[in-house]
Amino acid sequence: MNTTAHEYRTGWKRALIETRISLTSPGDLMGFILPTGIAVVVLLFMQNADFEGAPVSLGSMNMPSLIGMNIVFGGITGMVGILAMDRTNGTLLRAKSMPGGMTGYLVGHLVSTAMFIAVTVIVLLAVGLPLFDGLEFGTPDRWLMFLAVLAMGIVAALPMGAVLGALLDNPRNMGLVIFPIMGLIAVSGIFYPITALPTWLQWIGQAFPMYWMGLGMRHALLPDAMAAVEIGGEWRTLTMFAVLALWAVVSMALAPRLLRRMSRRESGSAVAARRADMQRDW
């Protein structure tokens, strides 16, 4: 039996179980439904507002951005949260104690996080299309662009999350990841066009995948005339894919090394120490 192929197959099976658990756990679901629901309601109110005479309301304009944001945010925080929690409760150490367990564990969580994101994105799309006027999703070229951006976003966000999760060894420090991402949302043109920001903030926004995912999703879902609102007055499709690909490649190069280091350091006493540390604080 080819053991490597077997490890990946086991990881795939694990992903199916984890996804089923996520989709049936109230906690996991509320983590998505609550913030996303609030955001959608806010966008509904923004439907009465326009941006500099654009043909589509601000609400409809931001709906695709919200989808893009959700992929990056969900991908990164999902992986970071899982890795941090699983180091505290021993799930990671359990994986280490089984033959091929670490590969199975990582494949399982990468795939199940991707599946969870895909499901949430489809839900958002299903809710957004009927609620927001001016979204265009009727032709195969738009489906293709949507899927390509979704795939690219997942491929970039998950390894980024794995890198950050490997570096962060205590769930207590989740804020170190969450707050900077919140800050990034503010400068990535998600809830208001980035062109309204000072140029130096625009550059910061454009250095990270969040902005490009919003842009890509707007490209996929908004009328072509809406490109006029973007930086340079165009969708910058190639640049978008290139920046996302760059983030994906860099993270993928770093992730295995950092995950191996994380795994190597894992032991029963390390888990116990982490748990004692948390109990002291809470």
């Binding site: 086991t10 021993g90 089984m98 033959p99």
Partner: protein, 305 residues
């Protein structure tokens, strides 16, 4: 698979571990043959967990030779890992999984290397058949630990590590757990190495006890050997003329022989108590901790020979 048939399951010589400038293990030597239950007994902080984590391949070492199933744990590959079972002190992993899902799925990992337990057979063995549809986090402490054992033996390992398996158990859960371990040893000659700071547990479960203190193995023998070596005095009790008589002696056999030879049948309810191993163990640990290492080791020399 790299394990010479008939070779020891675990062979350790001059194992050293140093954290910063603190020596936790100072030249530990031990050899454990395949089969049977061995307890690594010692006070908290003696280095038991460090030792077992080195053997499990979870932790590097500062020096010395270690061979587990014929392989150095620092370089153990997946095929080697498949032959081990590991049960840690406290595990709260995969709490959202259902019991049956977890044993079914985790068996998959071992399939390239061995024929793992089927879920029903395994849950039956550890007494969790009724909980198979429950989520793992809803199990009681004792049930959870039995699940940990199930996951430890799922790949039918040649060697099973149990680190402080009953810490925090109530007496009932403890007894159930001990029964489970007895069942495992009857099963198929799995070698079990367990750590405990509880002498009573070591006596109940193990055929051989290694006492770890001060970074070394300071005593090694069967519970009986250790007890005999440890207890030089015995207490003899009997009823004579309706009154309870008690006498402490270094040679109980000789004392009883003389007593019965001269009593004209008046002695009844004769009992001989050796000082328990517990007294000896606590004394030993106390002596060791007060820095009197040589005396402590001498006490047990007979037992180790």
């Amino acid at each position: 698979m790299g394990h010479p048939p008939g070779g020891p399951a675990i062979a350790v010589s001059d194992l050293r571990m140093r954290y910063g400038d603190k020596d936790v293990l100072k030249g530990l030597d031990l050899e454990i043959e395949a089969g049977g239950v061995t307890a690594l007994l010692g006070p908290n902080g003696a280095g038991k967990t460090t030792t077992i984590e080195i053997l499990e391949g979870f932790r590097g070492r500062s020096g010395g030779e270690v061979s587990v199933l014929g392989t150095d744990p620092a370089h153990g590959k997946e095929a080697w890992r498949a032959r081990l079972g590991v049960v840690l002190q406290e595990w709260r992993d995969n709490g959202k999984w259902k019991v049956r899902d977890i044993v079914t799925h985790f068996a998959e990992y071992y399939r390239p290397y061995a024929e793992p337990y089927g879920p029903d057979e395994l849950l039956e063995l550890v007494g969790l058949a009724e909980q198979s549809g429950q989520r793992v986090r809803t199990l009681s402490g004792g049930q959870r630990r039995r699940l940990d054992v199930a996951l430890g033996i799922i790949g039918k390992p040649e060697l099973l590590f149990l680190d402080e398996p009953t810490t925090g158990f109530d007496p009932h859960a403890r007894r159930e757990f001990h029964e489970l371990i007895h069942r495992l040893t009857d099963l198929d000659g799995t070698t079990i190495l367990l750590t405990t700071h509880d002498l009573d547990e070591a006596e109940k479960l193990a055929e051989r006890i290694l006492i770890l203190a001060g970074g070394r193995i300071i005593a090694d023998g069967s519970p009986d050997q250790l007890a005999r070596a440890a207890s030089t005095t015995a207490e003899v009790k009997w009823i004579q003329d309706g009154a309870l008589q008690v006498h402490a002696t270094d040679d109980a056999t000789d004392f009883v022989r003389k007593l019965l030879a001269t009593d004209d049948g008046a002695v009844s309810d004769l009992e001989v108590h050796r000082a328990s191993l517990e007294d000896a163990y606590l004394g030993l640990v106390a002596r060791f901790e007060s820095g009197d290492a040589e005396t402590a080791v001498d006490t047990f020399k007979e037992a180790t020979r």
